[in-house]
Structure formats: structure tokens, C-alpha cells
Symmetry: D2
Subunit: 119 residues, 4 copies
């Protein structure tokens, strides 16, 4: 991750793109790319969506959009000085306290509610 | 990254959330969280946005949303079997061919056009 | 629509919000609000999503997010001087040429492909 | 608006697209199109963004994306049975109580905070 962040920084610097890579623009670009990933799935049934990688064209498109999302997330993190891995590790620890594992198997509806509260 | 993916998988499994964590839902959740990160910046000037980490409350919110975006990106990648680091490394290599470093310092406008083509 | 646009303009002007209501910020806010509408549906099955208005709390949330999306769309249109109804009428006419009605009933897969091309 | 909703419904029905036009898919498509509108602005300074309609190509792109956002918003509203104009009128009335007009001219910072609370 750190190495990818450095490569992205060097890539942008070599092309004089840093003036564009300010936090607000990178947050917008991240959101735009996440939308492009979602676009692949928007008209698919859940079953079609689960099989998206079976089609080589769709699989390439998915990998490409994943790369774009990760690229802008890392560039955003560089711009604001946030360590994304540390941020996620801390969040998982908070969530382990916030959503304790239920004693018995919680049903789908309960899981759904928990998920609703997760954001 | 691999370890974070495993922790997220275990976290969801322990709470019976896997039925919700299908590719289409995770792509939607990723887009929603990227929107929540953008929300922090939507009314800020570029200058205010660049100073977002100076305010402890905003800084916490940024770290929290970065964690959410990375969490859903990694869970999406687990669900579709994509290695996000390999996908980004391959994309950087393609982009190095696609956007060769200009001999002289390209100006901002050119950089902007290149950026427009990047997505 | 024109009347709503005027009310939104007056509302923002009375609160000195115009400096924030520039095109880039309004486009970001529109995207953020569309994400909040999507959030309601992200973990739902298609069947649960189709019944979203049966629950009064969800129904209120849907109406609230629809209002936010339309508000920012109209304020964006005011800021850039675009008539949204005229823009959509022109687009429907273009699409009628671009996607001619198939002679026989086209199947779901064909419809899905057309939809994919629509964006 | 009502007439545009009818035209969009007829357009989709003639092409057998209704099975795709369920609430969850339309909410996703609305978010994707809002992202495409934002994409036009993502690397622009506020000044460049304010002049976006001066360039005929950008102006056409803006009108096209506005049409797409409005189209999916109206189709979503048809699918869930929400009147978008009534929803927005009700929201404006609620917001008039929630954000009373300040006696004196509130400064930019206060306006920004209000905006932050608006979503």
C-alpha cells in the first residue's frame, strides 16, 4: 500500500497533476469512480451480479474500476495525511465493541438492521 | 491488506451478514460511503478543504469515512475474487504507457485534459 | 418546477447561502444526496426494495431524499442556467431515435444491453 | 413533470425495460448519473466550474447529464409512487421552520454550518 501510494505520487508529480490532486477534488473523483463501479451492476439481478467475473469483458471492467477507486482513495489519503490501513484497523476494533457477536445465530432481519446502523 | 480482508470476512461471518454482502450490495455501499466522504467537503472552498485535518472533529470524520470506503472496497474484492493491489499495480503500468511523461513541463491545462481522459 | 426553483433561490438568498451554491458544490451535493437515497436500498433484496413504501418510516425517508435530490438538481440548474424539463424532453427525443422500438417483444437480455448503452 | 413521467414510462414499456426499472436499480442508476454530472467538475477550480457553460461541448454534456439525473429521478418516483414536486414543497416548508431567516446578515461561516446540517 505504501509503495502504491509512492508510485501514484510519483506518477502525478511527473505529469504536473499535483495542483489538481487536492483533497476536495480527490474526494469527488473517488465518488465518481465508485459510481462507475456501481454502474456495472445497476441493471443486474443479484444472481447476475454474483456471476459478473464469469464474463471476461465484465471482469476486466471490474478490475479496472477497483483500481481507480483504490488509486483515488490512496491519493486522497496522501493528500490529507491519513493512513488508510490504520484507520480501518481502528474502525474494526470500534465496531467489534459496537456490534457484539450475538449469542445465537441472529436472523437476516436483525443483520439487516445492524447493517443499516453500520454506516 | 490481506489480513484486513480476513478480519472483515470474519467480522461479517460472526454476525451472519454474508447474505447481505453480495457484489451488487457492496458496490452500492462503497458508492454510498464515498458520498459520505465527499459530503465533508461539499461546501468547503479548496483552501478550507486543504485544512480539513486541522479540526479534530473533521479529522475524525475523514478517518472514519476513509475506513468505511476501504472496508467496502475490500469486502467487494473478497466477494468477486479481485486482488485490489494487483489490479492497481497493473493499472499504473497501463497508465504509464497511456500518459507518457511530457518532455517539458506540461502546463496545468494539459494536465487537466489528461486527467479528464484518465477515468 | 419554475416556482420551486424560485422558492429555493429565495430560501438560499434569505440565509446568505448563495456563495456556497456554486455549480461544483451543487453537483457534489446532488451526488451526495443521491447516495443517501441509495443508502435506503443498499442491503435490501429487490423484493424488499419494491415494498419500501409499506413502512411509514422508510416511506418518509424516501420522500425526504427525493426532495433533497430534486432541490439540488434544481439549484444546480439555476446556477448553470439549464432548463431541466427542456433538457429531458430533448434527450427523450434523441433516445427515441437511438433506441428504436423493436418490432417484436425484445427479451430481457436485449433490454439489459440497451440499458447498458443508455448512460 | 407529470407528462415527462408518462413519456418515460411509455418509452421503457415499449422497449420491455420495466423489469429493470425497479426501485433499487433506479436508485443506483440515479446515483451513477449524478456521479457522471459531478465528473464534469471534478478537476475544475470553482472559477472554471462557474464558466462551464461557456464551452459548447461542456454545456451539452451538462445538459445531457441533467436530463439523465432527472429521468432516473422521475422513473424512481413513478416506481415508488412518490410525487417529487409535492415532496420538495413539503421539505421547503419544513426547512423554513428549521432554518429561520437570521435577523442580521449571517456570515459565510454560519451559512456553511447551516448547510452542513441541511443534509
Amino acid at each position: 500500500m505504501g509503495e502504491l501510494q509512492r508510485r501514484l505520487t510519483d506518477f502525478a508529480a511527473a505529469r504536473d497533476w499535483q495542483p489538481f490532486h487536492v483533497p476536495k477534488n480527490l474526494a469527488a473523483a473517488l465518488s465518481v469512480e465508485a459510481g462507475e463501479l456501481l454502474e456495472i451492476f445497476q441493471w443486474l439481478t443479484p444472481e447476475q451480479a454474483a456471476a459478473v467475473m464469469d464474463d471476461p469483458g465484465s471482469a476486466n471492467r471490474v478490475r479496472d474500476e477497483v483500481a481507480d477507486v483504490l488509486a483515488y482513495l490512496l491519493q486522497f489519503c496522501t493528500a490529507v495525511g491519513v493512513d488508510p490501513v490504520a484507520a480501518l484497523a481502528a474502525k474494526i476494533e470500534r465496531n467489534e465493541l459496537r456490534f457484539p457477536v450475538p449469542g445465537g445465530g441472529a436472523g437476516g432481519a436483525a443483520g439487516g438492521s445492524d447493517e443499516g446502523a453500520e454506516g
